[in-house]
Amino acid sequence: MSKMDLKQQNKLLKYGKIIITDWRLYVLLLPMVLWYALWIYKPMGGLLIAFKNFQPNMGILDSDFVGFSNFISLINGPYAQQFWQAFRNTFIISLYGLLFGFPIPIILALFFSEITNNTYRKIAQTFTFLPHFLSEVTITGLVLTLLYHGEVNTGIIAQFLHTIGFIPEGTNIIQNAQYFRPMYIITGIWKEAGYSSIVYFAAVMSISPVLYEALKVDGGNKFQEIRYVTFPGMAPTLVIMIILRIGRMLSVGYERIILLYNANTYETADVLSSFVYRIGLEGGNQSIGGAADMFNALIGFALVVGANYISRQISETSLW
């Protein structure tokens, strides 16, 4: 037996001993490890499907290996038009989401921190957090009924938008591609803005009151206060939240998209994950779907790593 093997054997023996003397701790760890292995890490092997011509009766491993041909049909083949449309929509929707959705919780948190009447604040928070806890089916159900603008029934919000001259008479917002993105973004803000403000609210509350007093003694007004005390105090939270947000750029929530879109609105609504769902699960073309999935995952991952790197360079705040 070589020296290397002996060393390794000793190491294993040492670990074995630790585990035996402290076996209860490892028993407690086991369910989680098994769960992750079976339901999260095992399917990652299934990404192999992107390089296969998947036949359901043969399984992923036994299906024929086809190299990059699935990726080629995505990028430059029969699926290219739909794929690039979904790709573009994903970026546009996330960008709008970032532009309009990101600042609103921060502004809400600033306002919340001004409210000194505890009862008022708690009631307002209870109301604004609530939509976060409603299901996507409930929310999209509400959206569809409130916006439905058919011949007999008119959704109340569609009616309101018509009254203020925002949409022409008889417009069916749900069937009209030009309204999809605003509808999606506004629904998202309505659902999550209140709840996301908790994190920023906590950040504002943890800023030392001494700093505010000092600025006041120097004669600063409210806007200087926000500019020179509040924002610098929130900076680490802001950076972390923006990295998280950028990392999820490509994973636009497929559930709400799938529940809200329809054939008339694919043009502006179809994103990568809904494309995967439609082509891969509904259409039964799993290999193409798998290739798009992989594409999605890799870019998403690169985005997090990139955002984290940049933030570490410029602000010394990072996720890892």
């Binding site: 701790l25 490892y26 760890l29 095992k42 399917p43 809400l108 109301f127 209140g194 995952a297």
Partner: protein, 287 residues
């Protein structure tokens, strides 16, 4: 009371007003749905219902009460929520406890593999094929295959790490082993975090839709969300089949079903709300 200067007064006033407006906007669709569900047909269809109900009658709820599909799916959802949340909590508590111990070998590596899943997963197709392959298409499959979220494990782990070491040492001297320590010390001391995480898991189970729809084939096993969506999708057809002389509008049925799905959330949530503002803040994301 400290004295405020002018810009501060304006800002404070603005805050009260805007937060009030936002709170009303957040609640409006829910109130409207309830009002629309109990309003009379003519009042609703002529657009007179704007916030409060008109010509109130509760007959649509009578229809739901007699709707078998609704009750089957409602009971199924209760099943998924109860057992699913229990299962998720079991894995999360035991896992987070083990991860919170510095002496755990490969601790950093385990932590990394948990956090990693927050940004990378296999994707819809491989996940789907794995579920099918493992035979998830039934009640217990849905309970066991879903429910652990990295974020919640990290949140609990951080909370457990904050329990004072002195208490643990004292218990150890008294001869407590790992299982007893978790049950007698860590769990009772982490009530706020546990309540928060329970709420997160329970709402995600209660709201679960996509995978139930994709995987479950037996209509006796489908949860409320799947049933509700089916109704929304068949809206037009339902509308055409509806007798004309009903006291409520056809939309009222959809609204009433939506209200029924929200009520349990409305009942539980105010009790736990006081914990989660605290609980969420403890869940820093550092790996």
């Amino acid at each position: 009371m400290e004295r405020l200067n002018r810009s501060e007064i304006i800002f404070k006033l603005l805050s009260y007003v805007l937060i009030g407006v936002f709170a009303i906007m957040a609640l409006y669709p829910v109130i409207y749905a309830f009002s629309a569900s109990i309003s009379g047909k003519i009042a609703y269809e002529s657009g007179k219902v704007i916030l409060l109900p008109k010509n109130v009658n509760f007959q649509v709820y009578n229809k739901i009460y007699n709707d078998k599909g609704f009750w089957i799916s409602y009971i199924n959802t209760l099943f998924y929520t109860t057992y699913g949340t229990a299962w998720s909590m079991f894995i999360s508590i035991t896992g987070a406890y083990a991860l919170s111990k510095k002496r755990l070998i490969f601790r950093r590596r385990f932590n990394f593999w948990v956090v990693f899943t927050m940004w990378f997963n296999a994707g819809m197709i491989p996940m789907y094929l794995n579920y099918v392959n493992m035979g998830v298409a039934n009640r217990w499959g849905i309970v066991f295959a879903f429910g652990v979220q990295a974020y919640n494990i990290i949140l609990l782990r951080n909370y457990f790490e904050g329990v004072p070491k002195e208490i643990e040492e004292a218990a150890r001297i008294d001869g407590a082993n790992e299982f007893q320590m978790l049950r007698r010390i860590y769990i009772p001391m982490s009530r706020a975090a546990l309540a928060t995480v329970t709420l997160f898991y329970a709402t995600s189970r209660w709201n679960g839709y996509f995978w139930s729809r994709m995987l479950l084939t037996d209509s006796m096993e489908k949860p409320l969300q799947v049933y509700m969506r089916m109704l929304v999708e068949n809206y037009q057809k339902m509308f055409d089949d509806m007798p004309i002389d009903l006291p409520y509008a056809s939309d009222a049925f959809i609204y009433a079903i939506l209200v029924c799905s929200i009520i349990p959330v409305l009942i539980v949530y105010p009790y736990i709300q006081k914990y989660f503002a605290k609980g969420v803040n403890l869940g820093g994301v550092k790996g």
